[in-house]
C-alpha cells in the first residue's frame, strides 16, 4: 500500500498551483463571476494547452494520465475557485461519456474535449433536486425513427458554455429500470435554457425545458432503458471529482484563516494564541485532513475500479460536504468582521461549499447510501 501521490503528481500540483495563482487570481475570479457567461475562453485555451482537459480520458480518445492526475488538478482548481466548465466537463460529462457513450460518441466528443475544443455537461436533476434513479421523470419516447424529449431539468451546470449535454431521461418504467442517456448537441429546437440566479456566483446553473425536442437515433448513449448501472458508475466517479475540488477549497480556507490568526492582534497578542481561536483551527485541520484521506481513497477506488468504489465515494461526499460548510463558516468566524464583507474572499468559499454540498447528493443522501451498504 502506498497512500500518497507520486513525485510526478506532486510536480503537477506545484505547476497547477503556480499557474492558477497567476491566471486565476481572486481578481480574475471576481471578474468572471460578474461576467455574463462566467468563464473565459482564453483561460480555457491555456488550460487545454497545459493538457488538463485530457487528464483521465482514455488514450485512444486523445487523453493522457489517470483520474488521480485529474484529482490533483481539480483540488488546485477548487483551491483557486476556478470559475467555468472545468468541473462540469471533466468531472461530470467525461465520466458519463466514458462509462456510457457509444464508440462513435466517445471518438467525437472525448477527443474534442481532450483537445480543448469542446465543453460538456450533465443534466440529471429535476425540480425534486434528488440524485437517485427514482427522481428521473423527463420522458423520451420513440418518434419518427428517433426520440422525442419532454420535461424539465434544473440545477444543470454550465449549460451556456457546453457544446454537448448528456441528458438523463426515462424511456419506461420507474426507478432504475428504463433510464436512458442522450447526447444532445448544440441547442436543438424546443430546448429552452433559463440561467438561474445562483448563490455561488463562481458557478452557473440553469434550468432546461425540453418541449418536444426531436433527437436522432444516434443520440442514445449505449442501450436504451439500461443506462442506470453505467450512470451510477459515472456518478461515483463524478462524486470523487467534486470531493477533490472541495478539499482544495477546505485547505485554502484553513491556510488563510491560520495566517490571519497569526497576524491579527487583539489585546496586544496575535489572536491565534487564544485557545478559543486556535482550537477552532485545530478542528478545521482535522476536518481538512480527514476529508482529504476519504477523497483520495475514493478517487483511487475509481481509478482502480475497486469493489468498494460506491461506498468510498459516498463516504467521501458525506464527510466532505459537512466539512467544507463547517470549515468555511468557521473561517468567516476566525476573520471576524472582515470575513463577512463582500471584499474578502471568505464568502466565495462559503458559497462554493454550499453549492458543492447539494451537488451530486448532500451528506444526508450519502449517509443513507452508506447505511444501505452496511445492511442496516
Amino acid at each position: 500500500m502506498d497512500f500518497a501521490f507520486s513525485q510526478e503528481q506532486e510536480m503537477l500540483r506545484r505547476s497547477a498551483r503556480e499557474f492558477l495563482a497567476k491566471e486565476c487570481s481572486p481578481k480574475v475570479v471576481r471578474r468572471l463571476m460578474e461576467s455574463a457567461d462566467g468563464y473565459d475562453q482564453a483561460l480555457w485555451k491555456k488550460i487545454a494547452d497545459l493538457g488538463w482537459t485530457a487528464l483521465g480520458i482514455p488514450e485512444e480518445y486523445g487523453g493522457v494520465g489517470t483520474f488521480l492526475d485529474l484529482v490533483v488538478v481539480l483540488e488546485e482548481a477548487g483551491r483557486a475557485l476556478l470559475p467555468g466548465p472545468f468541473f462540469s466537463t471533466m468531472g461530470l460529462a467525461v465520466p458519463a461519456l466514458v462509462e456510457a457513450g457509444t464508440e462513435a460518441q466517445k471518438k467525437e466528443v472525448l477527443s474534442a474535449i481532450a483537445a480543448g475544443s469542446a465543453r460538456a455537461t450533465l443534466a440529471f436533476t429535476e425540480p425534486s433536486g434528488r440524485w437517485d434513479a427514482g427522481s428521473i421523470g423527463l420522458t423520451a419516447k420513440q418518434s419518427g425513427g428517433g426520440w422525442r424529449l419532454d420535461g424539465v431539468k434544473v440545477f444543470v451546470p454550465d449549460v451556456e458554455a457546453a457544446d454537448y449535454i448528456v441528458v438523463v431521461a426515462r424511456t419506461r418504467g420507474e426507478g432504475e429500470e428504463g433510464v436512458t442517456l442522450f447526447l444532445v448537441q448544440d441547442k436543438p429546437e424546443g430546448m429552452a435554457v433559463r440561467p438561474l440566479e445562483t448563490l455561488d456566483m463562481t458557478r452557473r446553473w440553469s434550468e432546461i425545458r425540453f418541449d418536444g425536442v426531436q433527437l436522432g437515433a444516434d443520440a442514445v448513449m449505449g442501450a436504451p432503458d439500461k443506462a442506470w448501472p453505467r450512470l451510477k458508475r459515472a456518478l461515483e466517479w463524478a462524486t470523487s471529482a467534486l470531493c477533490a475540488e472541495m478539499v482544495g477549497g477546505v485547505q485554502k480556507v484553513l491556510e488563510t484563516s491560520t495566517e490571519y490568526a497569526k497576524t491579527r492582534h487583539q489585546f496586544g497578542k496575535p489572536i491565534g494564541i487564544y485557545q478559543a481561536v486556535s482550537h477552532k483551527l485545530a478542528d478545521m485541520l482535522v476536518l481538512s485532513e480527514s476529508g482529504r484521506s476519504a477523497t483520495y481513497y475514493a478517487a483511487w477506488t475509481v481509478d482502480a475500479d475497486a469493489p468498494d468504489r460506491s461506498l468510498a465515494s459516498s463516504m467521501a461526499k458525506a464527510y466532505v460536504s459537512d466539512a467544507y460548510r463547517k470549515v468555511a463558516g468557521d473561517g468567516i468566524q476566525v476573520h471576524g468582521g472582515i470575513g463577512f464583507t463582500w471584499e474578502h474572499d471568505m464568502h466565495l468559499y462559503f458559497k462554493r461549499a454550499k453549492s458543492s454540498e447539494v451537488t451530486l447528493g448532500d451528506a444526508t443522501f450519502h449517509r443513507e447510501l452508506v447505511a444501505q451498504a452496511l445492511d442496516l
Binding site: M1, K269, H279, E289, S290
Partner: protein
C-alpha cells in the same frame, strides 16, 4: 497511490483470517470480573504471540517478526473482521516496546522486549502525578543518584494495569533545572521492588482498572535508565509520539470494531429502518473509516522516510471523541434499557469512553499540539 495487496500480502491475509477464525475468542468487552478479564486477555496475547502475530514489525532478534507495516495493517484489519479482542499488554505494545527499541541499549532490548510480547510481563506508564497532568514537566517524583543506583520517592496516578504490571516506565526528576524539562530521568522500574505500593482507584465504571503508585525509597539500578540520565524528557516525548501515532492505528482498528458492533446493536433492537439511527450510525462509520485512512496516510509518510509526527495527535483526538459519540448513540438507541443492568451491553464502554478524551493527552492538549506544531500558531503558554 495504490491500495492493492501483493500476492504475498494476500497470502498472509488469508493465513491470518483462517487462524483468527479458528482461534479468536468471543468474549464481550468488560464481561466478567476484572481479574478474569485480564487473565483471559493475557492468555489471548500469548496465543497471538506464539502464532507470530504480536510485535510483527519489531526486530526478530528481540522476539519480533521483522515484518512490514503493511502486514501489521493487514493483521489489524483481520482482527476487526473477526471481532477479535485486543491483547492485554496495550501500553507495553503501543509505547513500552517502541521506546525501548528507540532508546534502549542492546542488553535492555534483549531483556525487556520478548517477555513484553508474550504477555509474560505487563507494562504500565508512570508519567502523571496528582499535580502534573497536562503539564507533565511539573512532576515532583524524585530520583536521587546514589552511585550505582537511584532512590525513588514520590507518587504517580491514573496508572492503568499497575496492579498486574511487572515494569513501570517512570519519569522522575533527578535534579532541578531552570527549564523544568531538563534534569528528568527515564527509568524502568520493577513493580515488585520493595517500597512500591499500588492502590487501586475505583473509576466511574466501578472497576479498579487504574491505580495510584506510591514510591518510598525504591532502589532502581542504573542499568534501568532508558536513554541518558537527565535526558528523560526526550525519551518521554518519543513515548508519547508512539502513544498517539502508532497507537493511533490500533485506535483506528478499535473504532471500526465499535462502529460495526453499533450497527449490529441497532439491528438487534430492530431499529435498522429508523432514518435517524441510520444517519447516525452511517456517520460514525464514515468517521471511523476517515480515521483509519488518516492512519494509512501517516504510515505512508513514515515509510517514505519520516518519523511519526505530531499529526499522530489527529488520530488520538478523533478516536477519543468519536468513541464517546458512538457509545452515546448506543445508549440512546437502547432507550430505558440503557440505564439498567449492563446497559444492553454498552454500559462499560459508555462510561469508560469518558476517559478517552483525558488519558494519553487531553483533547485540549492535543488541539494545542495541532495548533502549535502543525499549524504553527503562537504558543499559548
Amino acid at each position: 497511490m495504490d491500495f492493492e495487496l501483493s500476492d504475498a500480502e494476500k497470502e498472509f491475509r488469508d493465513e491470518v483470517r483462517a487462524w483468527l477464525k479458528a482461534n479468536a475468542p468471543h468474549d464481550a468487552e468488560g464481561g466478567g470480573d476484572l481479574k478474569s478479564f485480564i487473565e483471559r486477555r493475557r492468555a489471548w496475547q500469548k496465543k497471538l504471540f506464539d502464532a507470530g502475530y504480536v510485535g510483527m514489525t519489531w526486530p526478530e532478534e528481540y522476539g519480533g517478526r521483522g515484518r512490514s507495516f503493511m502486514d501489521q495493517l493487514i493483521f489489524n484489519d483481520e482482527m476487526i473482521l473477526a471481532h477479535a479482542p485486543e491483547p492485554i499488554n496495550v501500553i507495553g505494545l503501543g509505547m513500552g516496546g517502541p521506546v525501548v527499541i528507540a532508546h534502549g541499549n542492546d542488553a535492555q532490548k534483549k531483556r525487556y522486549l520478548e517477555p513484553l510480547l508474550s504477555a509474560e510481563e505487563i507494562w504500565c506508564q508512570g508519567f502523571s502525578e496528582p499535580n502534573a497532568g497536562s503539564d507533565l514537566s511539573g512532576l515532583q517524583t524524585r530520583a536521587e543518584d546514589q552511585g550505582d543506583h537511584y532512590v525513588v520517592n514520590g507518587q504517580k496516578v491514573w496508572t492503568t494495569l499497575a496492579h498486574v504490571a511487572k515494569w513501570c516506565m517512570l519519569l522522575a526528576r533527578e535534579r532541578k533545572e531552570a527549564n523544568p524539562r531538563d534534569g528528568l530521568t527515564y527509568l524502568l522500574v520493577d513493580m515488585k521492588s520493595p517500597g512500591i505500593e499500588v492502590r487501586p482507584l475505583v473509576q466511574i465504571t466501578g472497576d479498579a482498572e487504574f491505580n495510584e503508585i506510591f514510591f518510598k525509597d525504591v532502589k532502581v539500578p542504573k542499568s534501568q535508565i532508558l536513554g541518558e540520565a537527565g535526558q528523560g524528557w526526550v525519551v518521554a516525548m518519543t513515548t508519547l509520539l508512539h502513544e498517539r501515532g502508532t497507537l493511533g492505528l490500533a485506535l483506528a482498528t478499535r473504532a471500526q470494531i465499535t462502529a460495526s458492533e453499533l450497527a449490529e446493536h441497532s439491528r438487534k433492537l430492530g431499529l435498522g429502518a429508523d432514518p435517524l439511527v441510520r444517519q447516525k450510525i452511517a456517520q460514525h462509520t464514515i468517521e471511523a473509516r476517515a480515521l483509519q485512512l488518516n492512519g494509512y496516510r501517516a504510515v505512508t509518510s513514515v515509510k517514505r522516510g519520516g518519523i511519526p509526527g505530531p499529526e499522530g495527535s489527529i488520530l488520538k483526538l478523533m478516536w477519543s471523541e468519536l468513541n464517546q459519540r458512538m457509545t452515546e448513540t448506543a445508549m440512546d438507541i437502547a432507550g430505558p434499557a440503557a440505564q439498567v443492568g449492563d446497559g444492553d451491553g454498552w454500559k462499560y464502554q459508555f462510561l469508560r469512553s469518558r476517559a478517552n478524551t483525558i488519558e494519553a493527552g487531553t483533547s485540549e492538549v492535543l488541539r494545542n499540539i495541532l495548533a502549535e506544531r502543525v499549524l504553527g500558531l503562537p504558543r499559548s503558554r
